[in-house]
């Protein structure tokens, strides 16, 4: 469905060049759910924006790479053509439903809008479809609630509205950027369950962006771990958690708290996330890596294929050699 190869995005600012995404490649299979996990500064949202063609292009620039969506190259598309795809074939939901919804328009109208624009439906038909979608995303009394404004809904409900909007045009690809970060635990579980159900029903391909290792474990088939603009590791969910092939992934898994088991002492990763304007030379994780050696400080490791469809950006990960 989606193939990203060697994507590099830089922001050219007065204070310096922010190297936000650096030689990132990944493939998203049709009907699968792909998780992009990373902390702040990892480049995960910038990657999503690059795919959607939503990067602010004066300071931002895609300095290398291709993005193939169903065989079509997206990065070289004219803005008008991209507009036909965005919100139609590829849709996106964001973290904060409060700011993503227009506060002065009724929600029914907002959902109907994409149908009117992309499918040319007349308002009445679009509106009844919108009500139907609201019902599908779990909003009861949808016909009445379609007349309400965003502030009359709770956070979880607003996120359901966003999902309804995103599914209106039956997209091929849905990108969800931290969709539950602003929600309470129980509401989060509701939304995640909803996403899982809808994905199966609509046969969607989903890219889920988050910092939460629990969420990607529950929801995603394949996962890519990003750090400071690098794609550190790519694997299926099971492989990633049972046998991580990258010191960063391993460090992260050993440092998170668990609600399902008692931990005596967490293993913490020392240091903090580097500045993207002057990132460390070579492997960007080398300043904090417990297994660092000289080559890591000089040369950026390529994406080693450690097994079929399994990649790790680490000098220790040449095929056959485990990173332990």
């Amino acid at each position: 469905m989606l193939s990203v190869a060697d994507l590099t995005v830089n922001f050219y600012l007065e204070s310096g060049i922010v190297s936000a995404v650096n030689h990132v490649s990944f493939d998203v299979r049709k009907r699968s759910s792909f998780g992009i996990v990373g902390e702040s500064g990892s480049g995960k949202t910038v990657t999503a924006l690059a795919i959607m063609g939503l990067l602010p292009m004066p300071p931002g620039k895609v300095d290398s790479g291709t993005v193939l969506f169903k065989g079509e190259e997206l990065l070289s598309k004219a803005p008008n053509d991209m507009r036909k795809i965005r919100g139609n074939r590829i849709t996106m939901i964001y973290q904060d439903p409060m700011t993503s919804l227009n506060p002065v328009l009724r929600v029914g109208f907002q959902i109907a809008e994409s149908l009117m624009v992309h499918e040319g439906l007349p308002y009445r038909d679009a509106k009844s479809k919108a009500i139907e979608l609201m019902g599908l995303t779990g909003i009861s009394a949808a016909d009445k609630r379609a007349e309400d404004y965003p502030h009359q809904f709770s956070g979880g409900m607003r996120q359901r509205i966003m999902i309804a909007m995103a599914l209106a045009t039956k997209p091929d690809l849905l990108i969800a950027d931290e969709p539950t970060t602003a929600l309470d635990v129980i509401t989060q579980a509701q939304i995640l369950a909803l996403l899982k159900r809808l994905q199966a029903e609509y046969g969607l391909t989903v890219i889920l962006i988050t910092h939460d290792l629990g969420i990607v474990a529950e929801l995603c088939d394949d996962i890519m771990v990003m750090y400071a603009g690098h794609a550190m590791e790519r694997a299926t969910a099971r492989e990633l958690y049972s046998e991580p092939q990258n010191p960063y992934t391993r460090g992260l898994l050993e440092s998170i708290t668990r609600a399902d088991k008692d931990i005596k002492r967490l293993n913490s990763i020392p240091g903090s996330i580097p500045d993207l304007i002057k990132p460390p030379k070579g492997c960007r994780f080398h300043t904090r890596c417990p297994m660092v050696f000289d080559k890591c400080k000089e040369d950026e490791p390529p994406d080693f294929e450690v097994a079929a469809n399994r990649f790790s950006k680490c000098w220790l990960a040449t095929a056959g050699r485990k990173t332990r």
Binding site: V185, A189, Q190, A193, L252, T257, A259, L266, S272, I273
Partner: protein, 327 residues
């Protein structure tokens, strides 16, 4: 049995809600019962967890304990003395010195115009501890104790990372050598790779300085790592309270069970995504009758909407307020 450091007795904190013009003639004044009859004790040296979703009253409770808010009714007893009532400024000052806090937003809790050293020293300056030189010494020692360097003593907050800023906040909280430290979501705003550092630091400091912690959070996994006992709050009340392991292995209250079931587990071989509960938290202005949880409870019985359950001890040290456990 350790000495009881903090005791909260039937604490209530209600906030009046302004009436709109159309409601001016309504007889009843609307109140938000942010904290409604909450009681618990914290023994010296332990870590007490207060868990709940937003709006449950956990932060309001901690603010009353800190003296930032006055209770509507009920008492807060610190080392046996009532610190919640209307005391002279001097008296409350003395007790509140021994209760300090670390809040969620690392950058927001530091004055951007002050150097790290001055920030950490400030509690000593305010309370006139010793002279200039000893204050400086204590502050420098604290800065080292939280893992920062003497060089950073002269830097400004914006020059530090989030994790480092939180270390400064912790150093400042400990400068007066308090007995009780309230930690309100201290790692929620930090990156994952940094959380473990701060959590381990908190554990180590607790031993080093003989501290007692009140840990407020919505994140159950962190609570499991850090806390000895946990109390679960819902809509201003404590619904379950017991030792940490007991809560996670034998939750009794349906809300606790739902919470535990809702947490995503980083283990793909154990996928359990499901909807633990339907609906949303009711508005605090329109509290459900009887048990406040009855509108969403999977084990609902008729009595639940009529009678408020009492908070009783079902097993040793394990308290629940739920009609399922009334004989």
């Amino acid at each position: 049995m350790n000495e009881t450091l903090l005791a909260v007795d039937n604490l209530c904190k209600y906030f009046p809600v302004k009436k709109s013009l159309s409601e001016v003639f309504h007889p009843a004044d609307k109140v938000v019962k942010a904290v409604d009859d909450v009681s618990f004790t914290i023994a010296k040296g332990m870590t007490f967890g207060l868990v709940g979703e937003s709006g449950c009253g956990k932060t309001t409770t901690s603010k009353v304990i800190l003296g930032l808010l006055k209770p509507t009714s009920g008492r807060v007893l610190f080392r046996g003395m009532d610190v919640s009532g209307n005391h002279s400024k001097k008296e409350s000052r003395q007790y509140h010195r021994e209760i300090q806090a670390v809040f969620q937003d690392p950058a927001g809790s530091l004055d951007p115009r002050m150097t790290i050293g001055r920030i950490v020293r400030e509690p000593l300056d305010i309370n006139n501890e010793g002279d200039e030189r000893t204050r400086d010494e204590v502050a420098r020692k604290m800065v080292e104790a939280v893992g920062l360097t003497q060089e950073q003593y002269d830097r400004y907050p914006h020059e530090l990372s989030g994790g480092q800023q939180q270390r400064v906040a912790i150093a400042r909280a400990l400068a007066l050598h308090p007995k009780l430290v309230i930690l309100d979501e201290p790692v929620s705003a930090l990156d994952m790779s940094v959380r473990a550092q701060i959590l381990n630091l908190l554990k180590d400091l607790q031993k080093e300085f003989a501290l007692t912690y009140l840990f407020v959070s919505h994140d159950l996994s962190v609570v499991r790592y850090l806390c000895d006992t946990v109390s679960v709050m819902y809509l201003g009340q404590i619904v379950e309270s017991c030792e940490t392991r007991e809560l996670f292995e034998n939750p009794l209250h349906p809300y606790t069970e739902a919470l535990l079931g809702a947490v995503p587990i980083p283990d793909p071989s154990n996928r359990r995504i499901h909807e633990p509960l339907s609906g949303t938290i009711p508005s605090p202005l329109n509290l459900p009758t009887g048990c406040r949880f009855h509108t969403r409870c999977p084990s609902y019985m008729e009595i639940c909407s009529k009678v408020e359950p009492k908070f009783i001890e079902i097993k040793s040290g394990h308290f629940v307020s739920c009609h399922l456990y009334f004989s």
